[in-house]
């Protein structure tokens, strides 16, 4: 099977400032991947390369069987939906609904399909009550969600999301998790940049770590997030649920809240009463 995304020996510099050096990895359909690392490690550069906004200095970025060098960003949008770090840069319509529907309409899908995709994306992220609002009347966190809805409405094979949960409360983060899990179950691959390791633990399954522009780690996310000594060199620390599981030595060291609560209850039942 052709990967949805393949970076093959990719290097990139901003003028004299190196950003990525010989980065290679593949993502399969339906995979849910976290891209982690310090500020300035090169994560957002990966997003820009995949979206076709930058071209690699060396190596190749393949989106399916397309070499991004040969594709304009608007062509790549048929396969890649990108949420940029500062989502304000991708909102421009006078209502949330118009913004969300712009992408599928630009792809040339029929009007009934545009409506369906727009409704689904708004519903997935609890944005239906805000559909008629001007995006700039919303708080920044909801503006980012509106931009994410626009990306979901493209229904692409690959979702590349840069910090999708900034400023969201727990209920909305759970909503984003649920929406992304549904898209993944339907076959979309996810590549998510996030410093919100609690959200990553709940949503994603594989962890890539960039360290000063090189790929330093590629392994199952749950094992990585539960291992403080592995995370420490990358400036990361286990999210609280993983730290709790490790501290209490819960079986399986769960990193997701519901699993940790279940294990906690199970172990507590087997302990003598204090």
């Amino acid at each position: 099977m052709i990967p949805v995304l393949r970076l093959d020996g990719v290097s990139f510099s901003y003028g004299s400032v190196p950003a990525l050096a010989d980065v290679s990895f593949d993502i399969a359909p339906g995979e849910r991947v976290a891209l982690l690392g310090r500020n300035g490690a090169g994560k957002s550069t990966v997003v820009r390369l995949i979206a076709g906004l930058q071209r690699p200095d060396e190596g190749t970025v393949w989106v399916g069987d397309w070499d991004t060098r040969d594709c304009a960003p608007e062509e790549l949008a048929r396969r890649v939906g990108s949420l940029f770090q500062h989502a304000d840069q991708q909102l421009f319509a006078s209502s949330v609904r118009d913004d969300v529907s712009f992408g599928p309409r630009a792809l040339g899908v029929g009007e009934r399909e545009v409506e369906r995709r727009t409704d689904d994306a708004l519903e997935d992220l609890d944005l239906t009550p805000h559909a008629a609002h001007h995006p700039y009347d919303l708080p920044p966190a909801l503006r980012k969600l509106a931009a994410l809805a626009g990306v979901l409405a493209l229904e692409p094979a690959l979702l590349v999301l840069d910090e999708p949960t900034i400023g969201l409360d727990r209920a909305l983060r759970a909503r984003v998790t649920r929406g992304l899990l549904e898209r993944s179950a339907a076959g979309a691959a996810l590549l998510v940049i996030t410093h919100d390791l609690t959200f990553a633990a709940e949503t994603l399954e594989r962890g890539l770590v960039l360290d000063r522009g090189t790929l330093a780690c590629d392994e199952p996310l749950a094992a990585l997030l539960g291992d403080a000594t592995r995370l420490e060199p990358f400036g990361l620390e286990p999210p609280p649920v993983a730290a709790l599981s490790a501290a209490l030595d819960l079986p399986g060291r769960p990193v997701r809240a519901a699993e940790a609560a279940r294990e906690l209850a199970r172990v507590a039942r087997g302990r003598p009463a204090p």
Partner: protein
């Protein structure tokens, strides 16, 4: 000594019927760190804009009640990239932009800028063009730029949003240091797990009004957990069905478990 006093503040954004803040009374003392928590739209960001005298002065709208600032304030917005001057070709100059506009003498500008750059651990980036920075790096630059103006009342809206773990640790440590120096800090954050180590008081906002005020233990409260405002550890404990009171942090949980 108070740095900020809000008495019975209600606030309406322009062309809205429903108030974004409802009868909020809150004071923040010098040397105190107060954290605002709540669901999205609960009013935390609006409260910071009122505290900064940006609402209604800049936003428009209508305010009733009184908001008194006893110190000069500086605010870091949840969109820090919109606060960059766009006129500086180095991080040092970006941080100097605010102090320079305060009309301070050159040596005082340099002293404050050097100090803020050191506090945010930005020295390795000092000569970089701000447009080449990552989002998290730029967030630290904007925080430094605000602190370089030496505000007595520091207002921070989601200040750790784009920071990596190291950057967030540095920031929370710095906030404690600022309070120790006598500054008043009022911050809004969805990073609830950081607050037990940082905040002196937590203010829970709901639908524009204050629902509860208390020490960070508030974040292990049953009602807070049920409203999605418990710390991760407290929430796991509650979900597990174990009896309360719920531990606030991993360290508390470990003590309880033993």
């Amino acid at each position: 000594m108070r740095s900020l006093t809000l008495e019975g503040v209600s606030f309406w954004y322009p062309a809205t019927d429903s108030p974004a803040l409802r009868n909020v009374s809150l004071h923040v003392a010098r040397g105190e760190i107060v954290a605002l928590v709540g669901a999205l739209g609960a009013g935390a960001s609006t409260l910071l804009l009122v505290a900064a005298d940006l609402a209604p002065r800049v936003t428009g709208g209508r305010l009733t009640g009184s908001a008194a600032r006893h110190d000069r304030s500086g605010i870091v917005l949840p969109t820090p990239w919109t606060q960059a001057s766009g006129m500086a070709f180095s991080v040092w100059d970006e941080v100097a932009f605010g102090p320079a506009n305060l009309g301070w003498p050159t040596h005082e500008i340099a002293r404050q800028v050097d100090r803020a750059i050191e506090q945010l651990e930005l020295a390795p980036l000092a000569s970089r063009d701000p447009v080449t920075l990552s989002g998290g790096e730029l967030q630290r630059v904007i925080i430094a730029a605000i602190l370089a103006m030496d505000p007595g009342l520091v207002l921070l809206d989601e200040p750790a949003a784009e920071l990596d773990s190291d950057g967030a640790r540095t920031l929370w440590r710095l906030i404690r240091l600022l309070a120790k120096e006598g500054k008043a800090v009022l911050l809004a954050t969805s990073t609830l797990d950081a607050l037990p180590e940082v905040a002196d008081r937590v203010v829970w906002l709901e639908d524009g009004a204050i629902r509860a005020v208390g020490p960070p233990d508030l974040l292990a409260d049953v009602a807070a957990c049920d409203a999605g405002l418990g710390t991760s550890v407290a929430t796991v404990w509650r979900t597990s069905g174990l009896p309360g009171p719920y531990p606030l942090t991993v360290a508390h949980a470990l003590r309880r478990w033993r």
